[in-house]
C-alpha cells in the first residue's frame, strides 16, 4: 500500500510537470506555478503528505528486529470539532487564544515493538545459566489497546506544549498514561529546526501488560516478571529544508529512555530506543 501510494505521488508530480511544460512555450504569462496558496488562501481541512527516504527505529525487545521506515504517510483531517490525525480521532470541546482541548481516542504506541520479534531455542538462560535442555524463547504477543482521554494544546512565542491523559477503553491493559511534550521551532526562511522533549508516565497496569511476563508465558528461559509504573523520557530533533511549495528535505533523530520497570523486564534487551530518518517529504497544498 505504501509503495502504491509512492507511485501515485510520482505520477501526480509527473503530471504537474507535464502541464507546466506544455504551457510554457506560448505564454507570455507562463509562470512556473499557480498563484494559489498565498496568505489569503483558505486552509484545507485535509493535511496529506508522504515522506520518502530511509530511517530506522531500534527495537528494545529481545530477539527483535529494528523497525525500518522507507515511506511515512501523513493523513489528517481537521473539522470544526472533529478531527482525524494519523489514527487519532478527536473531538475538540475548547478552543481559544490560550489553549485547545479535545477528547482523543487513539491506539497505544507500545505495541509497535511486538510485531518484529523472533522465536529461538536457547541452551543458556537470560542470566547466563545453562539450561537442562534447549528451550523455546519467545517474546510474548501483545495486543493493541484503544485508549481514550483528554488532550490539551497550548503555544506561544515560548514554544508549544502538549499534555494528555489517556485510559484504556478496550479492556486490553486497563491502565493509563499521562504524557507531556514541549517543543520549540526556529525558522529562517527555508530552514526549520525543532527540538522537543517529553515524558510519559505509564501506570502499573499498562506497564505490566506490555513489559511484564505472565506465569503462563514463562519457562526456564524466560522468567515471570511483574512491572510496576514508570516514566519514559524522550528527546527529538527535527531539521528541515523547504525545497519548494510541496517538497522538503528532513532529518529527524529520536531518543526514548524506557522506564526502570520496563527496562528491567526479561523481554527487554536495550533500554534506549533510538531512531533516525532522512528523506524527502511531499505535502499536498
Amino acid at each position: 500500500m505504501k509503495i502504491c501510494l509512492a507511485r501515485a505521488l510520482l505520477i501526480y508530480q509527473s503530471l504537474q510537470l507535464g502541464v507546466a511544460a506544455a504551457e510554457t512555450p506560448d505564454a507570455a504569462t507562463a509562470s512556473a506555478t499557480a498563484s494559489a496558496g498565498g496568505a489569503a488562501a483558505t486552509e484545507s481541512r485535509w493535511r496529506l503528505g508522504a515522506a520518502f527516504g530511509y530511517g530506522l527505529r531500534s527495537n528494545p525487545l529481545l530477539q527483535s528486529d529494528d523497525i525500518p521506515i522507507v515511506v511515512d504517510l501523513d493523513i489528517a483531517w481537521f473539522g470544526e470539532r472533529f478531527f482525524f490525525d494519523n489514527g487519532d480521532l478527536g473531538l475538540t470541546f475548547l478552543d481559544n487564544a490560550q489553549a485547545t482541548a479535545s477528547v482523543v481516542a487513539r491506539v497505544n504506541s507500545d505495541r509497535v515493538f511486538f510485531s518484529l520479534t523472533d522465536t529461538k531455542f536457547v541452551s543458556v538462560g537470560l542470566t547466563g545459566e545453562m539450561l537442562a535442555a534447549d528451550t523455546e524463547l519467545t517474546v510474548p504477543d501483545r495486543d493493541y489497546a484503544v485508549e481514550m482521554g483528554v488532550e490539551l494544546l497550548t503555544d506561544g512565542r515560548w514554544g508549544f506544549l502538549q499534555a494528555s491523559a489517556h485510559h484504556d477503553v478496550s479492556g486490553t491493559h486497563e491502565g493509563y498514561e499521562i504524557d507531556v511534550s514541549y517543543g520549540f521551532g526556529w525558522r529562517n526562511q527555508r530552514w526549520y529546526i525543532e527540538p522537543s522533549v517529553g515524558f510519559a508516565y505509564k501506570s502499573e497496569d499498562l506497564n505490566d501488560y506490555y513489559w511484564g511476563v505472565r506465569d503462563s508465558e514463562s519457562n526456564a528461559a524466560l522468567p515471570a516478571y511483574v512491572a510496576g509504573s514508570g516514566v519514559n523520557y524522550r528527546g527529538r530533533l527535527l531539521i528541515s529544508y523547504q525545497l519548494n511549495r510541496n517538497w522538503s528535505f528532513s532529518l529527524a533523530a529520536d531518543y526514548e529512555r524506557l522506564n526502570d520497570d520496563a527496562a528491567a523486564s526479561p523481554i527487554v534487551e536495550e533500554r534506549e530506543v533510538l531512531g533516525y530518518f532522512a528523506g524527502f517529504g511531499y505535502r499536498f497544498r
Partner: protein, 133 residues
Amino acid sequence: MRPVTAILLLMLPALSCSEDSIGQAMRLTVRPVLCIVDERSRACDMSFLVVWQSEESGYYCVGNDLESEPLRCWTEQHSGELTDRRNVLADFEYWINRGGDAPKLAVVTVEVLRMDSDDRRRRRRTRHVWDIL
C-alpha cells in the same frame, strides 16, 4: 536507487531561483522565488534580485503586479538587473515587457508559503512514527 533518482529529477523545479523565457529571446530570473512566513514572521519582507537577459538590444521594462508603474526601464540594453525590497503577504509576479501596455515577454512568480496555522491541532505531536512533515 531508481526511485531516489526519479524523486530528485522531479524536484528540479525546487531550485532556489526561477526563470521564464520565450524560446531563448528573453530570460528573466528572480531570486529567491519562495518566501516562507509563519507565526513569528507574518509577512514576507525581503530583497529580490531580478535579472534579465535578451538576445537583442532594445527598450525593456521590469515590473511587478504590485505596482502600476514599472520598477525600472532600460534603453538599448540586452541585459540588466535590479534589487527590489518587498513586504508582501501573498504570491506576486515579476515581469518584463517593452514598456507601456506591451505584452509581457516573461513572467516569474514569487510564492509566499504560509507554514503557520490558526488551528493549533495541526501542530499536535502524534505517535506517528516520524512525524516529519
